[in-house]
Symmetry: C2
Subunit: 570 residues, 2 copies
């Protein structure tokens, strides 16, 4: 696998490798600042591309010294900082597999992913030290060494052992490394699913997949139709990397940002103040948020202290955004683009996402909003997306008929690691079966309506719960809403809505129904039989570790929630 290719391999198969992403900034802008890490208020580390690459090379030698060989899994449990970026690139580019551990999983699930992945080395930092200590007894037989990422000279007092200090590991290593010309199908990264329906599964990706993702996503980003009211695109992206690196590699940004020679600002643990300071100090022009981060920024009392005017490219994804939050955010960040979109651990980011077509650039904002609430357009031709019925035939493009969305393309995960059976269940007939329900419009826009298993089957009809939830959230007195099916003798299932009201809102279960009737049924967005039969006003809606609605949990406690609900219609 590591034989250096020559003619004829190079002539037609110059390999698509992650190491190539580093070549562009190193060739064009070696002395530009590449990475900036904010340790704490006012304390920053800065590295040029040349410096960052030199450190990554040193770490590659350090990994070799620790006995890491091609194919080994090397894990990280860490915040977003330059050590984390170095660890990911050094691991991947020597031919090993980077496994960024989702530190928001339960200890049980974390221990499972570490032993299942057979992680040989675990990198961690001050922030995750308590987690590693809590896991240590369960993983110590499997992990050969731990590396502590810090600029402190001393190691922390801990029973975690054998433990190496990152800076000592790299200190005397050469600043260049002869990165191997790997086969492009070499595995590069391993991410585990959040395991809402069982143990987390490991999604494996190859070098080729990451390279092609970076390339296509960069192209689509740069060539997206520009509206006259859009701010000009900056020549250099200066981006705050908020999304945790363990979260499908922060939606791919550590890879495409390097290819695009962007400046990458690393906030460590995300805080509103830290974010604002980074933006002001570095004149950041781009960032990505999940809704909870955006909420933290907007709730931050001292936000007006900071100059955030450089921020012209903001993407929000990874969850539904309540209308109230969206309005508040749009006032603060006029250029914010709330992009609904679709992706999962198994499909990387960038599979289907909301964007406009060329002919829409002059449309008024309200009409654009109607387009942007759809899940979006598939990343054609990199991603081939179809919505199919149970026989595998495409459903009509009527924006109504619901089917399962199946995918193939350049960055759908290769396999579930060490799980050929579940791999075969998902990858059938040349298509990856997502388990998500969707519909397609005549214009090609796809709307994800639900997990196939969450769809409420009411009589012969399917009620897409996500549609119902989004519609309910449009009420300005609603903060969150979740819909599930309740078993019913006559209909099979009937819809129940759990609703969390905005703080201070004085509204009733009937108000929810009235709103849905007026805004949903009367405006033709849903039919009458989709209206919830039960509405429960609740203090909290159960969520998973990544902040998604936990429908499994609600179904488990269905009787309890039914007890809190009011029947609002027959």
């Amino acid at each position: 696998m590591n034989e250096p290719p020559t003619y004829p391999e190079f002539s037609k198969h110059y390999p698509l490798l992650v190491k190539s992403l580093m070549k562009r900034p190193l060739y064009l802008y070696p002395d530009d600042v590449a990475l900036v890490y904010r340790h704490e208020a006012g304390k920053y580390s800065r590295f040029t591309w040349r410096q960052w690459h030199a450190r990554t090379c040193q770490l590659a030698h350090g990994l070799k010294a620790l006995g890491v060989v091609a194919g080994d899994r090397v894990a990280t449990m860490a915040l977003n900082h330059h050590w984390h970026m170095e660890a990911i690139y050094a691991t991947i580019c020597i031919g090993a597999v980077s496994h960024p551990i989702n530190v928001r999983l339960s200890l049980d699930h974390m221990a499972h992913t570490i032993t299942h992945a057979e992680d040989k080395i675990i990198f961690f930092d001050r922030d995750t030290l308590p987690l590693v200590e809590a896991l240590f007894d369960r993983i110590k037989r499997h992990v050969r060494a731990f590396v502590y990422m810090s600029d402190a000279a001393a190691l922390p007092a801990t029973r975690v052992t054998p433990l190496y200090a990152y800076e000592a590991l790299v200190a005397d290593q050469p600043q260049s490394f002869d990165w191997p010309d790997l086969n492009e199908d070499t595995h590069a990264v391993l991410y585990y699913t959040t395991g809402t329906t069982g143990l987390p599964k490991g999604a494996l990706y190859t070098h080729r997949q990451i390279y092609l993702h970076s390339l296509h996503v960069s192209l689509f980003l740069h060539s997206a139709p520009h509206r006259p009211t859009d701010p000009p695109r900056p020549n250099q992206m200066i981006t705050v990397l908020n999304i945790p690196l363990f979260h499908i590699h922060a939606w791919g940004s550590p890879f495409f940002s390097v290819l695009m020679c962007a400046r990458i600002l690393l906030p460590g643990r995300f805080t509103a103040e830290g974010f604002c300071e980074l933006v002001q100090t570095e004149k950041a022009n781009a960032t990505m948020f999940v809704p909870t981060m955006l909420a933290m920024i907007l709730e931050y009392q001292e936000i007006d202290r900071w100059d955030l005017s450089s921020l012209t490219m903001i993407n929000v994804g990874g969850g539904a955004l309540p209308l109230g939050l969206k309005r508040k955010a749009e006032k603060r960040f006029p250029y914010m683009r709330v992009g609904s979109g679709y992706g999962m651990t198994e499909t990387y980011d960038g599979v289907i996402s909301a964007h406009i077509k060329r002919e829409m650039v002059d449309w008024p904002q309200e009409q654009i909003d109607q387009v942007m609430v759809k899940t979006g357009l598939p990343y054609v031709p990199a991603i081939d997306a179809r919505v199919v019925d149970e026989a595998g035939h495409e459903v009509p493009r009527d924006d109504e008929t619901i089917g399962q969305i199946v995918l193939r393309g350049h960055w759908i995960m290769e396999q579930y690691f060490k799980d050929p059976q579940r791999t075969a269940e998902a990858w059938r007939d040349g298509w990856f079966h997502t388990g998500d329900a969707a519909k397609v419009g005549p214009d090609g826009y796809i709307t994800i309506v639900d997990r196939i298993t969450d769809v409420i089957r009411c009589g012969s009809e399917m009620v897409p719960t996500v549609l119902l939830e989004n519609l309910t959230c449009n009420a300005d007195f609603v903060l969150e809403a979740m819909c599930v099916g309740v078993p019913d003798e006559k209909w099979g299932e009937i819809p129940m809505a759990l609703v969390k009201l905005m703080p201070g809102a004085k509204k009733t279960e009937e108000d929810v129904l009235d709103f849905l009737r007026q805004e949903g049924v009367d405006k033709g967005k849903i039919t009458k039989w989709m209206l919830p039969v039960y509405v429960a006003l609740v203090d909290e809606i159960p969520k998973t570790s990544v902040g998604k609605y936990n429908k499994r949990e609600v179904r488990k406690q269905l009787d309890r929630f039914l007890g809190m609900a009011k029947r609002v219609r027959m």
Copy 2:
């Protein structure tokens, strides 16, 4: 090769195929006008993406009906029109190999390429009919069928046979085609070199190479640093495709223009009037010229009749541009970008090209001009370019030391068709050896100075003739200049310049030397010993079929040219 791939192939190896380029416009903009062909003044054909694709599918069925199978070569001898685009796509996407014949070759060389390629079918049009008739006796035993591309119902009176009418061939065919999922390394196109040093050689490219070229080139185009004085980038490229489709596929534009959903305007035979009419009628915003085309436009008497103001993206490449022509053109087309660049039949277009870095966007024009006269930056990371000495070691980045430029990357041709020996000579040690001499600056800018074989070896020094030629052309009284070495007992070789003066210029051989001394030696661009020893003022400089200086011819007739020359220094 044509087995439909499924899991696990699709999961990691969703193939990179030319058919995928068509998917993007078909999905996003099926009813937008895609191709416009100007038959003659005022007579246009227009096709939407859906219509163009339907016709391409019909032709694919037509090719099958003519007995074309995967791997067969299908040739075209034609102007730039929609039939030609259909023939190229249909041929490639069924798995056959498109061979666009260079109709500017000599009859001998054309006959050689047709028999060497073993073309099974030849498509031609009214314009190339006389050529096909002239070739017929030499190729009739090899070619199974001819197809006449025209919307006329009747076939022309000709002895070329068997002859099919294009429109009759496609008329009753189905408008969809189940394009095969080919192996991405399937051969797609075959171009022959111009054969300045012997018989033309066939350069073979694969689907993967074309796809990756389109993707990278589109990204680099869209993400290039934008200067404050640059016009805004339009959301849709409307491009006049002037470069002949047989000329390395018009620098790749028929492929990346489809991926980018551009509108493609096809001028048939290039004329100044036809071009201007197309631009005005279709509001074209982009085009590419070779210098002779630009000269034709600027010499066109009635140019002021036309509104060409929509043209904001003009690229000139494929040859040196005399300074006088450049100045005249810049006045007419303020947005013109004269991009020097480097590519050859064996390397596709887009290997090294002149573009600025981010930090230069605010530089004054004169400084930018200094950057843009260098050949440019390699397309990192898609193309890996090195300048090496005879031992294969990289030369220092001092902008002085000359070495051979060697390449590898995603779109360096796979092989010379049926010529393993010359393939092996060019592809050695994992690098394609271009035979071109170059130097590299500390900033990574590469300057091609000459063919390795054209460099004048004067004493222990190498005089790069292209540098000398470009410098001479900077004189406003010089139209064209060529430099060759003249054998010399003491020095080995000494430089001679052939100079064609601008019409009406009253200048002498000494004036040429004086100019080079002032602008070259005094300004540190060349050293004194690089100055020509002989200068010949000539009426015409010998050129090849593609308009390049023909140094072989000059060397053959060296005595004749020496007889016309004056010794201007000792």
